[in-house]
């Protein structure tokens, strides 16, 4: 059974295959970061546990965000290149174009995350998670990817040009750096520390870290899931509103 959204997803896949640089970029950059932090910079950090064990959950979330700028550009190109007007006057689901971008981003992200987890294991990363905790970790990764994809689709729709759409996604890419992804928040300077503690990615990363080390915290998990649900909802509603408004 093909639905409008799966037909659109096939279209987006063809775009991605034609532009493999985006995929390489999305997979390679996080791996380079992981190698650099563990082997070059991380030796000087004291985080209480083996650094690769501390860093891997952070890098996973960073990978999710890093792949988003491509999505913002692709969504905006769709809106500015005229093809969207054809879709709009056809008897097809209004949100199919957007859902396809979200699905494509999530699949691309999952490939990149599979690669980063493989490299992390090779570098000595060990998870102490049970089967259920692994399921929880995967569920959280999917949820974060879903939420950030929708907010990125909205940013891509709201931008005037593909270039500015790419720029609009930059804060999302930078946000995990200002969280407990790389070093614990309480080692940061005052001001940055408070920001890091209260921004959404810290509870998300802490929850993922807890799940992978076999020591999950329920309260952090609730905060993380709430953030994801909120971001996804805002992204979805904002996307639909902007999509309807842009002729």
């Amino acid at each position: 059974m093909s639905t409008d959204a799966t037909i659109m997803l096939r279209r987006n896949f063809k775009h991605t295959v034609r532009n493999p640089v985006t995929v390489f970029n999305a997979v390679l950059f996080p791996i380079v970061l992981l190698l650099m932090f563990v082997y070059v910079i991380g030796g000087a950090f004291d985080v209480g546990v083996k650094y690769v064990d501390y860093l891997t959950p952070g890098i996973i979330i960073l990978t999710i965000c890093y792949g988003l700028s491509g999505t913002a550009v692709a969504v905006n190109s769709d809106m500015t290149k005229g093809i969207i007007n054809r879709f709009k006057v056809m008897d097809i689901s209004r949100s199919a174009v957007l859902s396809a971008h979200v699905a494509e981003t999530m699949l691309r992200t999952l490939v990149a995350i599979a690669a980063i987890i493989g490299v992390a294991f090779a570098m000595g990363f060990r998870a102490h998670a049970s089967f259920l905790e692994w399921l929880g970790a995967i569920g959280l990764i999917v949820l974060v990817s879903f939420a950030t994809s929708w907010i990125t689709v909205a940013l891509g729709l709201a931008a005037k040009t593909p270039e500015s759409a790419g720029m609009a996604a930059v804060p999302l890419i930078l946000l995990p750096f200002l969280s407990s992804a790389i070093v614990p928040a309480d080692t940061m300077a005052a001001g940055v520390r408070q920001f890091a503690e209260y921004q959404p990615f810290t509870p998300i990363i802490e929850t993922l870290r807890g799940l992978l080390t076999g020591d999950p915290s329920a309260s952090k998990a609730i905060t993380a899931v709430a953030w994801c649900a909120g971001i996804a909802l805002v992204g979805y509603l904002w996307s639909l509103a902007t999509f309807t408004k842009r002729a």
């Binding site: 093909s2 037909i7 279209r11 063809k14 775009h15 054809r86 006057v89």
Partner: protein, 341 residues
């Protein structure tokens, strides 16, 4: 037979030739109004397009042509008035309207990162054609639009004319009953333009209804069964090309002479001729512009040994139509208040 049925009957039937002489409206709009902020774009437009005909909306840039198309194709909602397309209301039955129409806008709506064939295949998928049917339709359209050779190339490598053709081919997938074409030949070279005209004629022969906008009088004249002239959101005239042309000044030959003597002699000789008020020593002579009558005219001057320095044939264009119908030139939008008095 349907000979007993007269007047308008319920619209919405198929566009097939079986509808015969029955007069059905493919598009019927009354009192369409649209304003953006304080600028009125459409000010009470009434349209009635018969099934299986070509209807042309003629007007300069900014007259409201694209807005009219956007309203009729469900892209924009009108502030007032109603419109039915293929028998369905454009506001309350958007799904049914969208299923019946095909739209080719001013800017080619093709996916540049897909090949020509993939673009058509995408349309076939979205229209849920079976894979055998899709293959037949895609191959057929590529052939018909002379795109078979470039079918495997990305649309981003296509020329402007090829893009237009691919765009129209995509519109035809799924055989829409009513096709909207927004300035289909603007920016095309003369050869591509003629190809486009032939394609449009062929579509109508197949029973499709065409609604097209244009800035070119000759295009509307050659293609359309009926023309409506749009000026600043108002329809200033509507009728067959013949009816409209009767309202506008005919074509004339423009002659420039070396001196007053030649001009005066010529004016006495040529019936209906008049001095051009723009330049001195210029005479306008009514003529159909055909080779035969022009040759006769020049021979006549030659017989009387009148030297002509310069000679040109002027056929009425959109500017003449506008001048005749509205009292102001089409490019003269800024000065309309003065002209309106």
């Amino acid at each position: 037979m349907t000979a007993l049925v007269s007047g308008a009957c319920q619209a919405g039937g198929g566009p097939g030739p079986e509808s015969g002489r029955m007069r059905t409206s493919a598009i019927a709009a009354t009192g369409l109004q649209k304003a953006y902020q304080d600028k009125i774009v459409l000010d009470g437009i009434d349209l009635d397009v018969e099934t299986g005909t070509i209807f042309s909306l003629l007007g300069p840039n900014g007259a409201g042509k694209t807005t009219t198309i956007n309203v009729l194709t469900t892209l924009t909602r009108a502030d007032g008035g109603t419109a039915r397309v293929a028998g369905h209301d454009v506001v309350t039955e958007t799904k049914a309207v969208r299923a019946a129409i095909g739209v080719t806008g001013q800017f080619a709506a093709v996916d540049e990162l897909l090949t020509g064939q993939e673009n058509l295949q995408l349309m076939a998928d979205l229209k849920r054609l079976s894979s055998a049917e899709a293959k037949r339709v895609v191959t057929g359209l590529l052939e018909r639009f002379d795109l078979t050779e470039s079918a495997q190339k990305l649309a981003s490598t296509y020329s402007g004319g090829m893009r237009r053709k691919l765009d129209l081919a995509m519109t035809l997938v799924g055989r829409p009953e009513i096709i909207f074409l927004d300035e289909p030949t603007t920016g095309l070279d003369p050869r591509s333009r003629r190809t486009m005209w032939n394609i449009i004629r062929q579509l109508v022969a197949d029973g499709v209804t065409i609604f097209l906008t244009t800035q070119y009088l000759d295009e509307a004249d050659r293609l359309a069964d009926r023309i409506a002239v749009l000026d600043q959101g108002h329809l200033v005239a509507q009728g067959t090309p013949g009816e409209l042309k009767r309202q506008i000044p005919g074509s004339y030959v423009r002659l420039r002479f070396g001196g007053d003597l030649e001009l005066d002699t010529a004016r006495r000789l040529l019936t209906g001729s008049a001095r051009d008020d723009e330049g001195d020593l210029i005479l306008r002579v009514p003529s159909d512009g055909g080779a035969k009558s022009v040759r006769a005219l020049l021979n006549q001057l030659d017989d009387h040994s009148i030297d002509v320095e310069e000679f040109s044939v002027h056929t009425p264009d959109l500017d003449d139509v506008f001048l005749a119908l509205t009292g102001h030139a089409s490019t003269d939008l800024a000065n309309t208040e003065e002209n309106a008095r």
